[in-house]
Amino acid sequence: MTEGAGAARQGTESAREGHGIVIAGAGHAGGAAAAALRQFGYKGSITLVGDEPIPPYQRPPLSKAWLKGEATAESLALRPERFYTQQNIQTRLATTVAAIDRATHQVHLSDGTAIAYEKLILALGARPRRLALPGFNLPGVLELRTAADADRLKAAIHPGTKIAIIGGGYIGLEAAASARALGAEAFVLEREPRLLARVASEPLSAFFHAAHTAHGVAIHVNTQVVGLKGEGKVEAVLLADGTELPCDAALVGVGAIPNEEIAAAAGLECRHGVVVDAQARTADPDIFAIGDLTQRPLSLYNRTGRLESVPNALEQARQAAACITGRPAPSPEIPWFWSDQYDIKLQIAGLPFDVARLVIRGDPATGAFAVFHLDAEGHVQCVESVNTPAEFMAGRLLIQKRKVIDAAALADQTTNLKELAA
């Protein structure tokens, strides 16, 4: 905490001469960046601009606790409203950043005003991918990204209603679990041969397929949706083979695309995400980008990628805030992710790149197991843990240590993980 204090003071002095920091985007990443800047001692002005009408909040509960009515607006909020006043963070909500003028160091807002910046942090997030299908615009065809989206979905879920879920990814599966908890029917339509095809291993897909089936969710894989139909609102999903599946609402969760347009228009490099370095800097030294928006280095895996997760948003928020305040760059974190469905707690650490073999520890039939992904040399690249938090934490350590691991020892549940990771 003390080692960066001198540098932080320097950083604030240079910033005082300028116009402070503008954060474009008031989601989890933007909110975290504002808080981290103050925590790191930044004293200049901070303006947080966001298109939603409410201050930054946590998105993960939207498909879970919020949908089930177990969360309040206060518990959803990233920080209480008073935090922004106390920390002297200006918020410009229900306002969009329309353009970046790099030459004059200004952003132009949707309300016609402009704000000058010394440093700009882009935290514009991503938006749900839309399907160009007939009937997609019918009332009752929903997506889930914002609190407003979640409220529309919540209004559609009642005991006895039938929810079609298009896309067997995490959002869809979490929503299916919440729908079942609320007494609604749900069925999932997935184009690929298995659930979570892009984001999980086959054993994990098989486990979730069985779990949802056991909870009464019908899973249709290898299933192509060709349209939605209904009179005045959605009443059925149309499949490529001609089948019509009746529903009262449809949730589409088929991935997200980064909101990179204004960055691209300003001449910043975008490659399915705004390109940043390991400190969340773009090629413009005064512009940073963080969160779902970015194409970022994945230093452990010698490649770049776009990660859609809260830990990614927070890591990059800290990187940007550290860089701006002249603190030492935080050491790279291992990407991780979590999902809660029914009584299943999934935690994933690392990314499944260069995987040569999978090692399963524990029995999926018991509902508690972990899938370790090893490369050809036997380094752990990734761990997917189901109701096994110790395996998750051990996996994180193993990934970090780059130790060559004996697969048989790892699979053996009598092997002490702490000793293995030591």
Partner: protein, 106 residues
């Protein structure tokens, strides 16, 4: 409202009032107390809200559940009085609670 004192690794103390029913972690985050990251927002999924509970308060803060115990056993600098502060609910009984923070959460 119960008062909780958070002591940073460098010794800086922050005493804040926390509404009953919130977690000790939320008390820190809502008041901008540095040193508790709480990346998962209280889902007991990340172990970045690690604190050491002062000896006098160990009994009143209750027992770790299995999941918390498993997570925290791998955290950096774990001690017998280590807790995940998202798993400690604030009650009137905890008025005066003192927790210390580790060198880092990552």
């Amino acid at each position: 409202m119960p008062k909780i004192t958070f002591i940073e690794y460098n010794g800086t103390a922050h005493t804040v009032e926390v509404e009953e029913g919130l977690s000790v972690m939320e008390g820190a985050v809502n008041n901008g107390v540095p040193g508790i990251d709480a990346d998962c927002g209280g889902a007991c999924a990340c172990a970045t809200c690690h604190v050491y509970v002062d000896a006098a308060w160990e009994a009143k803060t209750g027992e770790k559940n299995e999941s918390e115990a498993a997570m925290i056993s791998f955290a950096n600098g774990v001690e017998p009085n280590s807790r995940l502060s998202c798993q400690i609910k604030v009650t009137a009984d905890l008025d005066g609670l003192v927790v210390r923070m580790p060198a880092g959460q990552h």
